[in-house]
Symmetry: C3
């Protein structure tokens, strides 16, 4: 069994990845120092949660000092999946050969990272080592989308600020600047948003996306910007990624990006009007918690336009991915399963995160399909390829 | 371990089944064509969800054409548990010997089914191959309950229309016709429903049943038809099957019987008045989702009159049955566990569905009881028999 | 694998326990008869749920008769985890050598228990056999806390009656008697509660604790006794154990302590004000259900002052402990995980309950850390020791 899982993992690793959601900045996609890696909110929040003060996160603290502090606290959270990602990064990219990262490793790793990351072809190396073909971005509506290869870095129109912060003057001004339209009333706003869709699709955007609080319940309403976005997704034939369930700023003194939590009491029933009103729009859906996975499975089983999308944030550990994936594979048509996305801020994270996912995927494929003789090993790899690559290409028309 | 699971599965397969919930029509219990099999809503909804239009489901389309369309789409959902049921049907009943059903198999399977299903003793053959002794029906209140052996096809009074559609003239008229009482006010309604209970129990009915939306919360209320039904269950000593959690017509353009979904935010606390008021009535309870299983386990652990009943609908895949069953076996008295029901519309489905369940049951028995040395293999099979047969007999007094 | 789990279990068993939550009465900590064991609500409620009337639980029934009745019903619930605890007690403490406890064993076990439990050093023997070093109590606010070794039996101020029943004259009178202050208004109440904290901490109390209904949502409010308790926890540096989710007296005719259930629809978002307002107070949190575990994991991942505490009540079976523990180990800093508490009423229960937990812990450590080569066996045992002992010492300052 464990050899089978190894073999499947290895075969899945040979499949070139298209990562359907990330926060990569295409003009500085890779890390420049270890601080870029360990500044990722997962590490700052785990270190803080385990007792680190916020002092090392201050602007005046040198990157080396900050890295030391975060690494120093690792012996409090070296049990976590996130620590395992970092260990994988250290081994795969920085030549680390130990079993465990300790406080003493902070400086040598920092120094090594400086050398490695400053290689002129580092970005290319990361793409190669990761077997990465293309990766989706998260672009603010006024992102110029210039200076990068949009076949490799695929634009995606992120719309949280339009939907939730449109009344703020700063957002209105940015919209005016980006579109040349002063959106004072609904008709002009509609025109302005059309300009955004035209611009984004002209630049090769393949999705519109938004994250939503647990109590959000869209309804058909002439003055709803969210509904307007869905209408444009229909017109411009873009999938609309919904990331459902986050409450912002719950822990008010949390670290940057480490303040958000949730209320598990949410339901996809809140979206029934939307799913019924837009049969032509595909909604790739991410839920914040595993508790909500069965609703996602059932809604995807029934609605042609609802598809499960990866394993988001607080569910992005094997303990939740494994049962969630198992249920999706047993109950949702395989052509609708978008397996995984990295959600990465720097390219170096795509490798360990997809590595973790492929291991889980291989395990579930082995247990559910190969051991039960429903599929050969070759058949199981083909099913894995659907989740890792084929469906991303077909659903997002990449 | 895998040999142990095989052995337990095989021993469990020797136990004659009494299936405590189905939608079999006793006057046409078996399929007449492959269209009867693949017209089951699981296949039409999965095919539709995976991209099939509703055109092949039209009345004017020939059964053969419809079967072709649904089989053609199987390569989009051949990962699912439902596909595995069909493959099992094809192998067990239609002599199919391949590993996978493809578009090319539609016509040969259709032809084979025509021959096989038209055998005069087909119904008897299905009972034998399935090792089926008796099966519960789902009867509308005005079902004449005639023309079939009620020892084999056990009547069950389904009451959804009485509780949720009583104000519709059509329902009132049907009730008047069935009982001879024009239920214009509460006292006459009460009399009419008594007639139904008398008629059903005289015909050997062994349960009253209803499916309920997530927000249903019964209270003692003189004008509540639901409460009245519970009172008659007490008087006529019938278990009252509650199937909790379904919202009807969520996907309004879904296929026939493929429109229902749910809101996971429901709680058995809504039934506390009922469970307290009717200690003499047994409530076999099915929850729509695995999320609700722990409530069901805990309420069954505390309330003598609450018993877990099978694995319903969106929870009827191994990914959910396995953890749900494991928790029930660890925390609820074994004499209260009704293991499984088929929910079948045609008898041919009892075999693959119980086959799937027995495999899960054998796995959990192996892991939890045999491997831990809590039970011998013989003891584990006896425990399995409780869930598969003994409890159905005792709880429903069959 | 199974040898590895055995080895880990064995190594974990060598770690002296500090049990951070129980209902032990320090003046009669051990059982005097088998009735003290089987009178534990788990057995009375399972026997009752499985069909035993309440008659054997009456005051007039002799202990021997009651034990007979409960044991007689065991063949209806010998599948449960709770039965396995009893079997372990019979084997570990009463020399039972059979595989299964049947009605015929009631009298011999009762007689044997009388002899064993009456040994003058029985309490000491139980501590030794259990490898128990110290155990937390649950003390009413007016408990004199005298006559026992508070290093071994650690006081804990339980505050349910203060928060939920303060308006009852009996509670007010008890408070007046315990503190010498007649708490007629808010300022005097505040003074009275300060006296309790002074007295409890002087006696070595290491925690304040409370159980809360699912809809409880504390807010900063000058008249809130709950908020006042949190303020005193801050001042007196006591962790505040929150046991979240129980509805009292749901099954109104249930056995003593077997009437409580819950509404799964609760969220830690209800506690956001509290967690934000008291960064200096550690909140060890127990949730009633596994459904709520992911919220607990995520809140513990983000809030430095939120820590997961054991596996409470309806979640205290391997089917729920296993997935809950797995998620905690993958996503929460290891220094924040309080692994388990016995919740025992008599010392004899600490052994089987921790035995069950250690087996689950060993399994998860084996699968997640040793098999994946993330830790050696020694490293895995050290991680287990964190959960079993080190964190209790550090978090509760024992």
């Amino acid at each position: 069994m464990s050899k089978l899982i190894d073999d499947l993992t290895s075969a899945l690793s040979a499949i070139p990845l298209i990562d359907p959601h990330s926060h990569i900045e295409p003009l500085s996609p890779v890390s420049r120092s270890l601080d870029d890696i360990l500044g990722y909110h997962y590490y700052t929040e785990l270190a803080h949660s385990a007792g680190m003060s916020q002092a090392p996160l201050g602007k005046d603290v040198s990157p080396r000092e900050r890295v030391r502090a975060i690494v120093q606290h690792m012996d409090r959270y070296d049990n976590t999946a996130q620590y395992a990602w970092f260990l994988d990064i250290a081994k795969s990219f920085l030549g680390f050969t130990g079993d465990k990262i300790t406080a003493a490793d902070a400086d040598p790793l920092f120094d090594k990272a400086e050398k490695v990351f400053s290689q002129p072809d580092w970005e290319k190396q990361v793409f190669q080592k990761t077997n990465l073909e293309a990766i989706f971005l998260t672009n603010e509506f006024d992102d110029p989308l210039e200076g990068f290869d949009t076949k490799r870095y695929i634009p995606c129109l992120r719309t949280d600020s339009l939907v939730f912060r449109f009344k703020e003057p700063e957002v209105k001004q940015r919209l005016a600047k980006a579109t040349g339209i002063d959106a004072g009333d609904l008709p002009t706003l509609k025109k302005a948003i059309r300009v955004l869709f035209e611009k984004f699709t002209a630049k090769g955007a393949k999705a519109c996306a938004i994250s939503l609080p647990p109590d959000f319940a869209p309804t058909k309403d002439g003055s709803s910007i969210f509904w307007m976005l869905a209408e444009y997704c229909r017109e411009f034939k873009l999938p609309f990624d919904l990331m459902i369930g986050v409450n912002r700023k719950v822990y008010r003194n949390g670290v940057y990006q480490g303040q958000d939590l949730f209320d598990q009491r949410t339901s996809l029933i809140q979206y029934q009007e939307l799913f019924n009103a837009f049969p032509e729009v595909t909604f790739p859906i991410s839920m914040l918690t595993s508790v909500q996975n069965q609703e996602l499975v059932s809604y995807s089983w029934i609605f042609p336009n609802v598809v499960p999308n990866g394993h988001w944030w607080y569910s992005n550990v094997p303990a939740y991915i494994t049962p969630d994936l198992r249920a999706r594979l047993q109950a949702v048509p395989k052509t609708k399963l978008v397996g995984y996305y990295s959600d990465a801020y720097k390219l170096e994270f795509v490798l360990p995160k997809f590595g973790m996912y492929r291991r889980v995927l291989a395990t579930v494929l082995a247990e559910e399909f190969v051991e039960t003789k429903r599929l050969t090993e070759t058949g199981a790899v083909a099913l894995g390829k659907r989740l890792l690559r084929d469906n991303v290409r077909e659903i997002f028309k990449v």
